[in-house]
Subunit: 357 residues, 2 copies
């Protein structure tokens, strides 16, 4: 029996990605070689890289608009550093919106590069909402935000219109909803939510914003170097990129981002309706900022914890435990999670209600 | 038919690593979940990380000697930058031995951190040998060398005795030969030769050399941060680390480094004997510096290229083409390459000789 996997990331991927990638480890493209043992400069892997980079731009609607897609090492946390290295001028200034743990981590790294203005923060309210009223200094080199906050279950529903580059960490909701991605100048995302397994990071960058800082950038941290080398400055994380390509192919075949958005909204609507209806539970995020990807909720009375945990585990659910910063439960409903899994969770919540009334 | 895979890296891994890792993608540890979809904080993956880190120290004979093993992102190229960030003092000095493309890449990155002295270089001779007579400044913060040069087929057979920390890039020969690893203070290696698939980098560091630079180090580049977080500062490259653990387990079961060294020497002796005997071929590296891992050789008369390429390809050999910097052929004989594959290559070289005489 396959589990209903609510893990916050690394997380569920489409079953066909597991099957095809396992097969490629045994014999890739009928080469009688494993994908793990071929040169990254081989025709077969160069094709994987080219397809993956092109498919990202196609799915985001950014083809022919001056963007480059890169599959890098390091996770989004390395981008916290690469963004100011590449975009903040010597003696420059950057503007950040603080909506949670990851946004705050990005701010911490940027501070060592120059003046880093936090335009707004919901930290004092344990990040239960997204700050709405803020002003971005027009002389900042860029504005940085985090589109979805996995830990706190909040998601930005709109983005400011600015005359400076907009950088967005979309690690936990990229490819999950339709946005005008051309409004962003740099998007980055760790693969391990909607794009693939852990071990690679997607960077989508508008080339024209690069090369303007007057700052020396170490080669491995320089987006321009990675663009020149076609995302193979050094040996790339071959398998994570291949599994990402398989996930992107599944996404395209499934109808692309608009189709995902529709299913994701149906899943979130179903779960939030139960959270709001069921007298035993309360959602922790402000309603207008609720994330379609990660629903955070708590039991109103912790004494039911043991019973509820037994019920959902017996139903084949895994990965529902909330992050220690919030407690309670977190249901991560990434693209590959089927609606059926949400139905099973809703049934488990109802079963708890029946069992104690 | 399985290929005789001479790829320089990513390269051949033990067959059981392919089989077990493919199985883990379908169902890991009988969890009814894929290794690609579980949390890196789950008990099952934390165990993988702990075992892999401990096994590295055990295999290198470094247990209880003040070392930490880390599985990081980024490839060895990121270490080119992390090493000076962590070890070169503000206004400090570092000493580098230039033995090839990767050593030279490491020097390039270090130069931006402070005075970087190249103690010797064989660049003028296209890196066909390892410089032997050099003096390392005693006031340098560290000495950096590259133990094996994949591209040029040379390998350091001895290392200097110094009173400053010794840093060694062992990407292409770690776990292949017995050395007193405690003579090194920091060893790093991209996984994709003897340790696993591409996508993770091993760093083995003596803790006492860290924290002495007076320099601010960005979190993701700070070895001390990675040590504190037990090699999980951020989401690690889960699958590459798991496949590395499987490779390390195979290595231990096969007799550890001493057993590998014996087989590797037998493979290299067999191939170099044929290169020296066969009048059609010449080795490109100085004999005393020949690499046990990568044998580089050329046809004395290029007109035989087409015939020879047909012969080895027909014998099921792949990945034998030399790097563009040297031309000719490169036979990479990493730990997982069986002696039988070298016998097949030697036969192919003999077949060429017969076919034209």
């Amino acid at each position: 029996m396959k589990k209903h996997n609510y893990s916050a990331g690394p997380c569920i991927l489409p079953q066909e990605v597991f099957e095809k990638s396992a097969q490629a480890i045994l014999n890739f493209n009928n080469l009688d070689l494993s994908i793990l043992e071929i040169s990254h400069r081989s025709k077969d892997f160069v094709t994987v890289m080219e397809e993956a980079r092109a498919l990202v731009l196609e799915l985001l609607g950014l083809e022919g608009k001056g963007y480059q897609a890169l599959f890098l090492h390091g996770g989004a946390s390395l981008e916290f550093l690469m963004v100011p290295y590449n975009l903040m001028k010597d003696n420059g200034k950057a503007a950040y919106l603080d909506t949670g743990t990851w946004a705050s981590g990005a701010i911490k790294e940027a501070k060592y590069f120059g003046e880093t203005v936090t335009v707004a923060s919901s930290k004092a309210e344990n990040y239960t909402h997204i700050p709405k009223d803020f002003t971005v200094p027009s002389d900042a080199d860029y504005f940085h935000c985090t589109s979805n906050n996995t830990i706190f279950g909040t998601q930005m529903k709109s983005f400011p219109q600015l005359h400076i580059p907009i950088v967005c960490d979309m690690s936990s909701d990229i490819f999950s909803r339709s946005l005008d991605f051309s409004k962003f100048d740099l998007i980055y995302a760790g693969a391990q939510k909607n794009m693939g397994p852990a071990g690679t990071t997607l960077v989508v960058v508008k080339e024209e914003i690069l090369g303007k800082t007057g700052r020396h950038i170490p080669s491995m941290l320089d987006y321009q170097q990675h663009i020149i080398k076609e995302s193979m400055y050094n040996t790339p994380p071959v398998f994570p990129i291949y599994a990402s390509l398989l996930t992107l192919q599944w996404l395209k075949k499934s109808g692309g981002i608009p189709a995902m958005e529709k299913i994701n909204e149906a899943k979130a609507a179903l779960l939030y309706a139960e959270i709001d209806r069921n007298p035993l539970f309360t959602g922790t995020a402000a309603k207008e900022d609720r994330s379609v990807m990660n629903a955070t909720f708590v039991l109103n009375d912790e004494k039911h914890t043991e019973t509820f945990d037994k019920i959902w585990k017996a139903a084949g659910i895994s990965g529902l435990t909330g992050h220690r910063s919030v407690g309670g439960y977190r249901a991560s409903m990434y693209n590959a999670l089927p609606l059926e899994s949400v139905q099973v969770l809703v049934e488990a919540m109802k079963e708890l209600e029946s069992s104690i009334s």
